[in-house]
């Protein structure tokens, strides 16, 4: 995630430039000359968004004067492999376009080294969710092509027996083998995870609980006090949930529903004071931990529609920005959140100024439907440029396509497995 301040006079020109990169409102043209996203084979999603927070004044409800905080440009991509390599690749192949964009940012030196500048503006994410860790763009595209080929090939008359299912599966395997040999389908074997990553992941897996263990005695001692502070704040913090401005809402909606997947970018101020700042920091560390080690295979608790999601702090943890790529329409996304994981939303977001009142950190809050819906739309920002590598495919599609491939690659299967596999086609 790259974050850079927009120069005072640069915002207008920047917005104009970003608009030229789109083929539909907010939807990047994969071949646009500024940054032809489609050429980067390892890039899943990317977005460029101007972070201009209209809710900065809300913090006055806590008796804190409205801060003067900068307008940022953020550039976020989700790619396979190390981030450093992806950025270097971008610089190498689209340096001119990137310079065109970043010349609207503070401290950008047109003569200087682009890669160094971009690295200097990288931000650490506070938490990072990946729907299926290790699934590459190449794999997604190959498996999608595989499903299409098999779906078109498979006869659809009911099968009389399990033996027939086994026979049909063998025929389809032979068909795929032939297609692969002819170069019409590809089934590249997955690359092994680098040892360095595995070690880092293991260390992270152990280090966080260890740190927790060390802090546990202090936590136990402080717990009554912390709970008292929490409950007091939950009862007294201001709720700021007016309906979003209608024109702004319409502007957001004009960027949505051109594909089966949509984008979401939101920003807000963290409630003032040490307590909330520490609490949100700790909770995001825990969320990041569960995303990295537990929710790595297609679901974030009950939500199965998020491709990638990120949380990042801005301005010394005074503000938090959240971004996601999700399947379905905005209303369905929010209803899913409210009905399936309202408790999770409260954990992650109730530290934002104005959030609907929570109880015990988990209850109410996002369950207060209208307040929550107003809140999230009011804090949402338009994503000026959004790219995705695989239009028309949802996470359910990706999962099914992968299961088709897995079933294809098994040496032998039971009759029931063969039948279940054919049902996927």
């Amino acid at each position: 995630m790259l974050v850079a301040q927009v120069t005072p006079g640069g915002e207008c020109g920047l917005r104009k430039l970003l608009a030229t990169m789109n083929s539909k409102p907010g939807m990047a043209d994969p071949a646009n000359p500024v940054l032809p996203f489609g050429q980067f084979e390892r890039l899943h999603f990317a977005r460029l968004a101007v972070l201009d927070d209209p809710t900065l004044g809300d913090i006055e409800a806590h008796g804190v004067p409205r801060p003067r905080l900068p307008v940022y440009l953020t550039f976020v991509g989700s790619c396979d492999g190390p981030a450093g390599e992806c950025i270097a690749d971008l610089v190498q192949r689209s340096g001119t376009g990137l310079r065109q964009i970043f010349m609207h940012c503070d401290g950008f030196d047109a003569q200087g080294d682009l890669l160094t500048w971009m690295q200097a503006h990288q931000r650490q994410l506070a938490a990072n969710y990946i729907n299926w860790v290790g699934r590459t763009v190449r794999q997604i595209k190959e498996e999608s092509a595989l499903r299409r080929a098999l779906a078109a090939k498979v006869p659809r008359a009911p099968l009389a027996s399990a033996a027939q299912a086994q026979q049909l599966r063998r025929e389809l395997i032979n068909f795929v083998d032939a297609e692969v040999s002819a170069g019409r389908l590809g089934l590249t074997p997955p690359e092994p995870t680098p040892l360095r990553w595995q070690i880092a992941k293991f260390l992270h897996l152990v280090a966080i609980p260890l740190a927790g263990l060390i802090l546990l005695p202090f936590l136990i001692i402080l717990l009554p006090l912390l709970i008292f502070i929490l409950r007091t704040k939950e009862n007294s913090d201001a709720e700021i949930c007016p309906p979003p401005d209608r024109a702004v809402l319409l502007e957001l909606q004009h960027l949505e529903d051109y594909d089966v997947t949509n984008q979401y970018t939101a920003i807000g101020s963290v409630k003032p004071g040490v307590f909330r700042r520490w609490l949100v920091t700790v909770l995001l560390v825990l969320i990041d931990y569960t995303c990295r080690h537990i929710f790595t295979r297609g679901f974030l608790a009950r939500v199965q529609t998020i491709h990638f999601a990120f949380w990042a702090f801005l301005d010394e943890k005074r503000r938090l920005v959240f971004m996601s790529n999700y399947d379905g329409g905005h209303e369905a996304y929010m209803d899913d959140f409210i009905n399936k994981v309202a408790w999770g939303l409260n954990l992650a977001f109730s530290h934002g100024v104005g959030w609907p009142h929570t109880r015990w950190l988990l209850a109410r809050g996002a369950r207060i439907e209208n307040k929550f819906k107003h809140y999230q739309r009011r804090h949402q920002l338009p994503t000026q440029v959004w790219y995705r590598a695989y239009t028309g495919l949802t996470l359910v599609d990706l999962k099914r396509n992968h299961r088709i491939r897995e079933g294809l690659e098994l040496a032998s299967v039971t009759d029931a497995q063969a039948q279940a596999w054919l049902r996927l086609l």
């Binding site: 498979v154 209303e331 399936k340 099914r400």
Partner: protein, 491 residues
């Protein structure tokens, strides 16, 4: 005073328009008049005394009359801006207001509001007058009403209806699945997960001013009592110091849907290659019920069933019309008893539960349907020539939250090409068939078969075309009178 205004007071049935409670099956004649205001003062004068049918059951009426307003209508009647702004964003904007909404609702291609007979631009109605009457009574009564409103309104569209109420034009029994409305307010007001599907809906899902399924009051225009000096309006339950313009009212969504009856059966003949038995079976699979209304998933049951025992859609396809429109599921997929199992499912760790969790919490997305079909009887086969080109449904549904109920069902469930993990198909009856981004088709329909690949119908043509539509507010009767007084007037 305080006891009257306390929470949970009983419903003022004499203030609710009867349409919310009754479908008027015995009033077989009906027509819907779409009016525009000509003279605001005369229009208000008529509205102040128009005889509205209320929801008291005492005697079944001989005729019934209902009045609903669009937000443009409220503007034309010179209702103050702040009152209008108190309604939901969708109502204020209108059904045909912008391309983003059109994309969500599937109003694209042949359904584009630019091609509508009514409901867009200069053809947005201000007021809908819905007339129902016993056989033979409509014509005279309509003339009478017409004479009354003529000074204030001009009729831009008269939507006639057919008196054959049982079947929709394709020939299927219609209007079977309806939520049961909790008129007695038996459901406790609290926000709690429902672990079983239940057809009983909180009153607040269909009437403003009462708690909804979240145990909350849907936002609606509330005003200080000084603005209602004659105390016409009831007080708000959740804010007793304010008058509630929404109480006992709801939103009425109307859409004119033309059904290509011949095209439908011709296509099924093509898919069945002339096999009459197969043709009926395919049609039933698309609908999810047989023609006489028997649900495929539970023959013999009328409305008392779920899809729990048919997760793969072997009995009723996942994408069947009635399964999309009402998936009949609870807030959490079923699992073993006990708090641990529940926690496990809440965290997504139960793989089977997760697979059945793509669509959940139906209770927040229910519609009270009050549509009527129009014009000719169904053409029974492709060879039987039907002379009428315009046959279809005047779809009407009543909701308290247009976005969460009507728009959600229409966009996520009916038009959604990825509903319940399907791909390449939208609603088999309503789909517009235009390809998705990435050029993936939406004109298929898959019929799961045991232990075999799905049977797939492909290249279905469009059977249903939207010809018009609008979002109305169907006020409580006191609210209607209030809107006709000078107190609601202003710029």
């Amino acid at each position: 005073m305080s006891t009257i205004l306390s929470e949970g007071r009983s419903v003022e049935l004499d203030d609710v328009q009867g349409l919310v409670r009754f479908a008027y099956k015995h009033l077989t004649e009906a027509c819907f008049l779409l009016l525009r205001v000509q003279d605001a003062a005369a229009a208000r004068a008529w509205l102040a005394q128009v005889p509205i049918t209320n929801a008291i059951k005492a005697a079944l009426p001989e005729t019934a009359l209902h009045v609903a307003f669009t937000s443009e209508g409220l503007r034309a009647l010179e209702v103050t801006c702040d009152l209008r702004e108190g309604f939901s964003v969708e109502f204020v904007a209108g059904m045909a207001s912008d391309t983003a909404r059109a994309r969500r609702l599937g109003d694209v291609g042949a359904n584009d509001p630019g091609k509508w007979k009514w409901g867009a631009g200069e053809r947005v109605p201000h007021v809908a007058v819905l007339l129902y009457a016993k056989p033979g009574r409509l014509a005279a009564w309509e003339r009478e009403i017409e004479a009354q409103y003529a000074a204030g309104f001009v009729c831009i569209e008269r939507l006639s209806t057919s008196d054959k109420l049982r079947e929709e034009p394709f020939g299927f029994a219609d209007g079977i699945s309806q939520p049961e409305v909790d008129w007695e307010r038996k459901r406790p007001v609290r926000d709690q997960d429902q672990l079983e599907y239940n057809n009983l809906s909180c009153l607040g899902e269909f009437l403003l001013g009462y708690p909804n399924e979240y145990g909350l009051y849907t936002p609606r225009p509330l005003l200080v009592p000084q603005r209602d000096p004659d105390a016409l309006l009831p007080r708000a339950e959740d804010a007793p110091e304010q008058s509630d313009l929404g109480r006992n009212g709801c939103y009425l969504v109307m859409r004119q849907l033309r059904q290509d009856v011949q095209g439908f059966w011709r296509e099924l003949d093509r898919q069945a290659q002339g096999n009459a038995h197969l043709r009926e079976r395919l049609a039933a699979a698309m609908v999810g019920r047989t023609k006489n209304g028997d649900p495929l998933v539970a023959p013999g049951e009328v409305n008392n069933f779920t899809y729990q025992a048919d997760p793969q859609g072997l009995r009723c396809p996942l994408g069947a019309h009635i399964r999309r429109a009402n998936p009949r599921n609870a807030d959490l997929p079923r699992g073993a008893r006990g708090i641990l199992s529940r926690l496990w499912r809440m965290l997504g760790f139960n793989a089977t539960a997760l697979e059945r969790d793509l669509v959940a919490s139906t209770r927040f997305h229910r519609l009270l349907r009050r549509g009527r079909k129009y014009d000719a009887a169904p053409a029974l086969s492709a060879t039987e020539e039907s002379t009428s080109a315009d046959t279809g449904l005047h779809f009407i549904c009543l909701v308290a939250n247009i976005k969460r109920q009507f728009e959600f069902v229409q966009s996520a469930w009916m038009m959604g090409s990825k509903f319940a993990g399907l791909t390449g198909e939208s609603d088999p009856l309503l789909g517009h068939r235009l390809p998705d981004p990435g050029d993936s088709p939406t004109d298929g329909f898959s019929i799961p078969q045991a232990d075999s690949p799905d049977r797939r119908l492909t290249e279905l043509p469009q059977f249903v075309t939207v010809l018009g539509g609008a979002y109305f507010f169907l006020p409580g009767i006191h609210a209607l009178r209030y809107l006709a007084t000078a107190h609601s007037k202003g710029s």
